[in-house]
Symmetry: C2
Subunit: 338 residues, 2 copies
DNA sequence: TTGAAAGCGATACCAT
DNA sequence: ATGGTATCGCTTTCAA
């Protein structure tokens, strides 16, 4: 019977392979999964493999995991992709390491979803682990949803610990602390802190600001928060009213904001670091290309391998790993702008 | 009977919801999916919804798509994530638009997999569509694997058309053409073209170089390919032997390589654009912050909405859309560096 | 060494 | 208006 027009040919299943090889579906499964427990004769193995090859058979992941009762999916929510080689190297390492441990890494774009919507959508995939890189902040309720859906590990890598989740806390305050220590050490006492106007960055910017405040308070320095958007006009506007602010230093959230502001300050006729010291964070390549070279704070991310093995451990023994806080180190990298 | 220690509580299924609400699984399905064809009394609906809520029930995507015979997964392979706001904005738009059309966007990191391995891994998920953004180049065989696994649309957005796939050809040569036209128009006749040494970028860099060659040939200008890595040392080395090359212009693949090289050239004592004109591509923000401001070529990507609807159309009527070549426009943006 | 068959969770047809 | 049940593709006991 001919296919009706426009009906795609059916996707080959293991039953098709079995029929073609003249064996049962069980045998097909044994052969293709290299089952140790069962001995299959070499001629049979060959026939099965050939049949699979000829049909272009690819197993159906959904059916497999339905049967198995669990997936090997590690879900990586991505809303914003933070720029920077630091982060993307880390991400690549992580994916590579997880794949070596036989996990399937799935990035799930969740931009524009509420926390609850996102958590539900993720839970439908029944991931065995979820790694939240910090752009999205998970609520305790979200974590509960995921765990109820079978997630054996929910790992957050962000400024806040989330109840119920394994935490790799990136202590963003540390970044502010290092910046402030450096600036104060250079004799600066009136410090501005650029706070991005863009939504979704508060989780990072607030603790960085708090870190500066803590150090400055102890040293008798003043701190002024400076809202600024990631755009030339905003930087120019801020630079325009700079002299009125009476600041002798600024910590600019990260290198990108720093470069934007420094450019505007130079264009406004101020000298860096003479009139004002400018400090960034995250050690992006661009900071070294600017003149003056940008002083920055470098944050040490854990290696992808490290995080991957943590995930694997948590999946194997969920009870073992709990509320573990690995603080990440930060260090000032003085260059020419301070 | 108590759970044995360390055994996670079972994930609630629709059967659990049914039991709790005192109805059948069929009814649960009808209610939760707002089935139009069947009338369910309001009290029953409420009981079902409450039960689902109390149990924290989330449907199992694998089971659902196994039954349905097809998924709503749109797979987005990502090996390198090209930097730049242009690209990430596009990606966000695309995801958002696809989700509105009720697709599940899954990014699958395939770094370090061969083409065949990757295609197989993707096929296991039975995506209804695959959108290859061009970092990874698909072979005809890979496309066949995906189609056999039920993919109704395989769309490539890259410099090359792939047999069997719907193509949105980004004509990267156009970028080189615009750059060369601009440089030649400024009177330059000895043009260097920076070619990244990093793997995986040939698909973009080769046609860009070819575009320059085409224009230069017609205008009687000379073209020299200049391999360079994305690192300061490499740029410095290239700048060091610059005078020996006798070039009066350089097109630097993109703004990032351009900025790196321009910095090195300035540090080597050359004047831009006096001694050498420097041109980038992709119009990154950074180009406007450098001094001199970087001339660039801006590439107009299609909107995410556009691509999303193309995908949707291809999924609904696979036969309709074939080998469609949407060339993308590119335009020179002269600033100060040329 | 191989095969028959149960069952994972959700849906939709067919009864009632 | 609601329930029973076959079914999707695959793995894995249990039997032969």
């Amino acid at each position: 019977m001919p296919q009706s027009p426009n009906t795609p040919p059916p996707v080959p299943t293991s039953a098709d392979v079995a029929r073609r090889a003249g064996v049962s579906r069980a045998t097909v499964s044994y052969v293709l999964n290299n089952a140790e427990a069962v001995r299959i004769s070499e001629p049979t193995r060959r026939r099965v493999r050939e049949a699979a090859e000829e049909l272009g058979y690819v197993p159906h992941a959904a059916a497999r995991s339905l049967r198995a009762g669990r997936t090997r999916i590690v879900l990586l929510p991505t809303s914003h992709v933070p720029a920077g080689p630091l982060y993307s190297t880390f991400l690549n390492e992580l994916q590579w390491a997880l794949r070596r441990l036989d996990y399937t890494v799935v990035q799930y774009g969740s931009l524009g979803l509420t926390g609850d919507e996102a958590a539900r959508a993720w839970a439908e995939l029944r991931p065995v682990a979820v790694i939240s890189l910090g752009e999205t902040s998970l609520s305790a309720h979200n974590v509960a949803t995921l765990k109820r859906a079978g997630a054996r590990a929910v790992i957050t890598m962000g400024p806040l610990a989330v109840p119920g989740a394994h935490a790799m806390v990136m202590d963003q305050a540390e970044v502010g602390v290092r910046a402030a220590e450096h600036l104060v050490g250079r004799g600066r006492r009136r410090i501005g802190v650029v706070v991005p106007e863009e939504a979704g960055l508060e989780l990072f910017s607030a603790p960085r600001l708090a870190g500066v405040r803590a150090v400055a308070g102890a040293a008798g320095a003043e701190v002024t928060a400076l809202p600024m958007a990631y755009a030339e006009e905003s930087a120019a506007a801020l630079a325009g009213r700079w002299r009125g602010l009476g600041l002798d230093a600024v910590f600019a959230y990260n290198d990108e904001y720093a470069m934007l502001l420094m450019r505007a300050l130079l264009d406004a006729g101020l000298s860096v670091p003479g009139d004002v010291a400018v400090m960034g964070a995250d050690d992006l390549l661009i900071g070294r290309l600017l003149r003056p070279r940008l002083s920055t704070v470098r944050l040490e991310l854990p290696t992808g391998e490290h995080l991957a093995s943590l995930v694997d451990q948590a999946v194997r023994e969920p009870s073992e790993v709990v509320e573990r806080h690995d603080l990440m180190a930060a260090a000032a990298l003085p260059r020419e702008s301070t």
